[in-house]
Subunit: 352 residues, 2 copies
DNA sequence: TGCGGGTCGGTAAAGGTTTACCCGCATGCT
DNA sequence: AGCATGCGGGTAAACCTTTACCGACCCGCA
């Protein structure tokens, strides 16, 4: 059950034999780690080419103690925000010729543990983690951080010291609440929160900040998914809600909310205003385009690259980098700046 | 620039020393590769536990010639269909304790080549590829297939023999065209195609089949992205199109089409009917819910697992597995079965 | 001419495992 | 009692690199 002919694996010895030199010379030519006489160099190069030599990175990593790769562990690839982060981390690191290997923990602590263990066993040079759970992932993150430079991304596990790169969720949510307050005050319509259970630091921080701004507002909690957004909205409508501003803590949830609103014949933003968080690709294509909070993803992933590269040189224990980027509010049609009617006009101008 | 204290790496020798046995015994205990006297076994186990031993998988893989991992290379993680495939491949393989490492080629042939080279260098036990380009990826795929069991997924590179798992795109598109033809014939409205350039086999097959069914229909071609779907629809509307059935070859494109239609004030499905392909998670939340073609993703990834496992036992060159699953048509509101008015009633029944 | 130093090739060790092979011991059978 | 057998432990080789170290050679300078 394999190809027509699996080529016999060719190693550095084979190349050396064919070129009539020692393996050391081959290695030096291939890695340019020391000058080699032009004639030998050519012989080695063509031998390698003819044999189709492909270095065994296991041997190299074993010897060097470096694998030229990092691991990236996300809780769920189907969450488009994490997919975007993954793509962008790959992009940032590809510039430095460091392979990025992505794993999904599938929102499961045991899988998260296993994946981290495998990454460590394969001696990745760095580990970027988006922990599943604010408290329960702590042990997993700690295990990683003891062996390799570890950067938590977007979410932060409690009580474990590592580098962290994310956005200022409290600031982001404050942008939303103050944006939302104007309309809410004028219309005297309620503000409700639909978001993930605060079991991840980002959900936690966003919910906290919302609760401070609207202490008595109703809150419906669930998971980071389309389905939950939809169910939550169904429930609210079933409870008799007919007009409100719905603040969510993730675009995917907001999309579910909007879908449910539509399917019940409500108009957005006239009946319900909706806001998201993250600014994933789809959100500006939602109908209506989603007001949301944008995170500077490429700056974030560039910072991660910097941390990893810095960890290579200075292996003395410097402090931990903790970087929270300021997110920005992107006001779109799902929750217009002032009153819905004006916004509809703006939309018509824009679209027509 | 590291943790408080990076623990010194503990190897099998350390465990052996602490347990007062030889490294062979340690290895045998840890892998249960041969029976060991209970007393020694316990000593080894507790020694390993106390030292926090974590096997170096590089050493193991080097020795065994197997890494207990496979690579999965996708063209673009931000395409939700590929994200779903990736997630599901991970799930299937996690049951067999084989790590799945995901890389994104970012739709770039050179990155694709590099990623495959790295996977091979790290001696993955199998490689699952979704080639970027039907013709230009051939060399990359071939390189992989010469070294390791290679399965092409969803897309098939021309003129290179490997295993293949995908869906019957022609059948899927025929389901769409015959579904669409009824309405089109009645309403005498045009049918247009909006889809990706036929540079991948799936795009190719879908376009082909559509063209056979509607030879004179207009076609707008671009990339597998929201943005393209939107631009294409903008262009069509600018050209004066006011009512039509828009057949797309991917849900993400369909979502772009719908968004653009909405933003110009058209009603869907009354003015424009729209169909997608793939049935990604968002599509049933689209407004209106998207008619699309569903691929049996979990069956597909289970098949991949079977192929890889089979390749472990029988390393004699058996033939290649080529499996095309029959997709199914999922009719939703974006393109109702018969006439739009009836469909709106159905929607109301369903939603209310 | 003799010697110091620089250049560059080779030899061998090291990195962490698994496993083929060997050996000692105990057991059981004749 | 003697021998075959088998169980279970250890030693060392092998997997594929990189690289420290050595040594040969050449050049230039005194």
């Amino acid at each position: 059950m394999a190809g027509s002919q699996m080529l016999p694996k060719v190693g550095i010895h084979d190349v050396a034999a064919r070129a009539g030199v020692s393996i050391a010379t081959v290695s030096r030519v291939l890695n340019q780690s020391r000058p080699v006489a032009p004639e030998l160099r050519d012989r080695v190069m063509s031998a390698a080419l003819e044999l189709g030599y492909n270095a065994n990175l296991l041997g190299r990593a074993l010897r060097q103690g470096r694998s030229h790769s990092i691991g990236l562990l996300v809780p769920d690839l189907e969450n488009p925000f994490f997919a975007t982060l993954a793509q962008q981390v790959s992009r940032s690191f590809s510039r430095s010729n460091i392979d990025v290997y992505i794993c999904s923990a599938d929102n499961d602590l045991e899988l998260e543990r296993r994946a981290i263990g495998s990454f460590l066993g394969r001696r990745v040079d760095g580990l970027v983690l988006i922990p599943c759970d604010e408290t329960l992932s702590a042990a997993n993150v700690r295990m990683a951080s003891l062996s390799v430079v570890t950067i938590q991304l977007d979410r932060l596990a409690k009580a474990v010291k590592t580098h962290y790169v994310g956005c200022d969720n409290r600031h982001g949510m404050r942008l939303v609440t103050s944006h939302v307050r104007e309309v809410a005050d004028l219309s005297r319509q309620p503000v409700v929160f639909v978001g993930a259970h605060p079991t991840s630091s980002s959900a936690h921080e966003r919910l906290d900040t919302f609760a401070k701004a609207f202490p008595s507002a109703q809150r419906v909690l669930g998971s980071f998914s389309f389905e939950f957004g939809r169910e939550a909205m169904e429930r609210l409508i079933r409870q008799g809600l007919r007009a409100a501003t719905v603040v969510t803590d993730a675009d995917i949830i907001a999309l579910g909310v909007i879908a449910s609103g539509h399917s019940h014949g409500f108009a957005i933003p006239e009946d319900f205003r909706v806001t998201g968080f993250d600014d994933v690709g789809v959100s500006f294509l939602a109908q209506p385009a989603l007001t949301t909070v944008r995170q500077p993803v490429d700056q974030m992933t560039d910072t991660i690259l910097d941390i990893v590269l810095a960890s290579f040189d200075a292996d003395g224990q410097t402090g931990y980098v903790v970087k929270r980027f300021k997110p920005t509010l992107v006001v779109r049609d799902s929750s217009p700046a002032h009153d819905p009617v004006a916004a509809v006009d703006a939309d018509a101008r824009d679209g027509g």
